[in-house]
């Protein structure tokens, strides 16, 4: 296994680390790990580094890099740098710049995107826009509170000692829930700052139809997903064509702070990559 620093983009704007197995196979897709929130490419508790090295030992190339203005990458200059350009649009453009560079500089043509939190949302948006993406690993990605969510949420409270659970508020990761949840009394789902469920569902179906493999991993550390069956309530109507795998780690927190949880995640990722692309 070897690692190299990669500077790419206009004026070397971006910094990334390419981790290569001893015997690279360009027919295998490369895993590209996206920033989790504002954390740099090392990842929460070095998750990015661990994933890269584990997968390299399993025979996959991995690329981790910082989006513009995050970690060691500079902010974009010129077009696309304006504040009016939506943050996510910039992130999608940054990832595509990375993919363009990797296609031009390596023999790899296909990619799997992995992201935690905002990294998962960005992975979804890039995959929708870019057919070079043949797989996605969404860690605590898009999710929608359903009736089942509320039942589990309040059910737990009715049974537990009186304790107030605050919302997850982190400057580095996660997102604030809406202060007021706007709900249509007729709606079955209660959305929290994500694109409409119908839009995301349609896009997931299109990704599966295109042949994209999808791994969804949710933890107990979000405020919007709290039981395994919720995935069916959210996306049960989507035809994933056998290309979807779901894992729910109720006892893991959002950032896999406990090592046993992180080890389980690493195993899941390695098994999935090997089974789908090995």
């Amino acid at each position: 296994m070897n690692e190299e620093v990669v500077h790419f983009g206009p004026n070397g704007t971006f910094v990334g680390i390419r981790t290569r197995p001893s015997d690279p196979d360009p027919a295998k897709p490369m895993l590209v790990v996206l920033n989790a929130g504002l954390l740099h490419r090392v990842g929460p508790y070095r998750l990015g580094v661990e994933v890269a090295r584990n997968l390299a030992r399993a025979g996959f190339e991995v690329f981790r890099f910082d989006l513009s203005g995050i970690g060691d990458s500079r902010s974009r200059q010129g077009r696309g740098a304006s504040e009016e350009v939506a943050h996510q649009s910039k992130a999608v453009a940054d990832v595509q710049t990375a993919l363009d560079h990797l296609v031009a500089s390596t023999k790899v043509k296909r990619f799997v995107l992995m992201g935690l939190c905002s990294g998962a949302y960005n992975a979804h948006e890039v995959a929708v826009a870019d057919a070079r993406i043949v797989g996605c690993i969404f860690l605590d990605g898009y999710g929608y509170k359903t009736k089942g969510f509320l039942l589990h949420h309040y059910g737990a409270r009715m049974l537990s000692p009186s304790r107030h659970i605050g919302f997850l508020r982190r400057k580095l990761l996660g997102h604030k829930p809406k202060e007021e949840v706007q709900t249509d009394p007729r709606a079955e789902v209660f959305e929290v700052e994500f694109p409409p469920r119908e839009k995301v569902s349609g896009e997931l179906g299109a990704l599966a139809a295109r042949g994209t493999e999808l791994l969804f991993v949710y933890t107990g550390g979000t405020e919007y997903f709290n039981h395994r069956g919720q995935f069916d309530e959210m996306f049960g109507h989507v035809d994933f064509r056998g290309r979807m795998q779901l894992e729910y780690y109720e006892e893991a927190d959002h950032t896999y702070t406990v090592l046993a949880a992180r080890a389980e995640l690493q195993h899941t990722i390695e098994r999935w990559m090997t089974a789908r692309f090995g």
Partner: protein, 272 residues
């Protein structure tokens, strides 16, 4: 700004060099980051500090210690002395990259500890900035252990259903082991080495002068100040705002936001 690896094999370390914005006196700055979860919290703040120092005319090197960040290995490859050697090696890289012969060091938290130990051994340092230094290793680990226990039962981190089961004495599906500290498995030998650290017994004799910046009360600091005086290290201690909240388990993933400390550091290092 240029990122690169230096060293080989298990001692291959990641670094980022910031060129100075303009020609300067023969002087460059090495930044020593915290370890464990504080590394994650402070990356952005230290990059910002590096940018401001470079803008002020000082080339800067940031780097990851052996077994941390993007450097080779993991904590089982690390020891306190390995990390102190990393500081020395990074200073050499900085001299080579910048052409400067005089190196100042800014250390934050355990990075300040390692910088102090390096300057107590063989590293000649022009100016040493110690930002919320970890003076007493045993106190530091005791605080991390307390934070770790609180983190494990934090209702803002784990769902109610899980905490209720834990409260009823059920085993966790993902149990935390004894050598875990806030997201990292710290090997027992490394834990013992950190526990044994008392900077009062290792004053940075090879530093021309030191600036100690603190944002919280630390009962070990007076003893360290005495040691600096006894070792004839010219020094100044200042209390600053920009609280790091280093002992707050609820803030272990909050970015360090600071305004006044970077300005103080740039001003101090800019003095002749």
């Amino acid at each position: 700004m240029r990122a690169f690896f230096f060293g080989n094999g298990p001692r291959r370390r990641f670094a980022v060099h910031h060129d100075a914005a303009r020609e300067t006196a023969d002087h460059a700055v090495l930044i020593c980051a915290p370890i464990l979860q504080e590394y994650m919290r402070t990356h952005w703040a230290l990059r910002k500090l590096a940018t401001e120092l470079a803008r002020a005319g000082l080339p800067v090197l940031r780097f990851d210690y052996t077994g941390t960040g993007d450097s080779a290995g993991d904590l089982s490859d690390a020891s306190v002395q390995t990390w102190v050697d990393d500081v020395g090696d990074a200073a050499t890289e900085l001299r080579d990259a910048s052409g400067a012969s005089r190196v100042s060091v800014v250390g934050l938290r355990f990075g300040a500890t390692l910088a102090t130990l390096a300057a107590a051994q063989s590293l000649k340092v022009r100016d040493l900035v110690l930002w919320d230094p970890v003076v007493n290793g045993a106190d530091y680990l005791a605080t991390l252990r307390r934070m770790h226990r609180r983190m494990l039962v934090d209702p803002n981190r784990f769902p109610q259903s899980v905490l209720d089961r834990v409260g009823r004495g059920q085993k966790r599906h993902f149990p935390s082991s004894d050598d875990e500290l806030l997201g990292f498995a710290v090997p027992p030998p490394l834990m013992k080495e950190i526990e044994a650290i008392d900077l009062a017994t290792s004053p940075p004799r090879r530093a021309r002068r030191a600036l100690v910046l603190t944002t919280h009360e630390d009962s070990a600091l007076p003893g360290f100040s005495d040691a600096l005086r006894d070792a004839d290290v010219a020094h100044e201690s200042r209390r600053e705002s920009d609280a790091g909240d280093w002992d707050a388990h609820a803030r272990i993933e909050d970015a360090l936001i600071c305004e006044s400390i970077p300005r103080s550091i740039v001003t101090f290092l800019g003095q002749a």
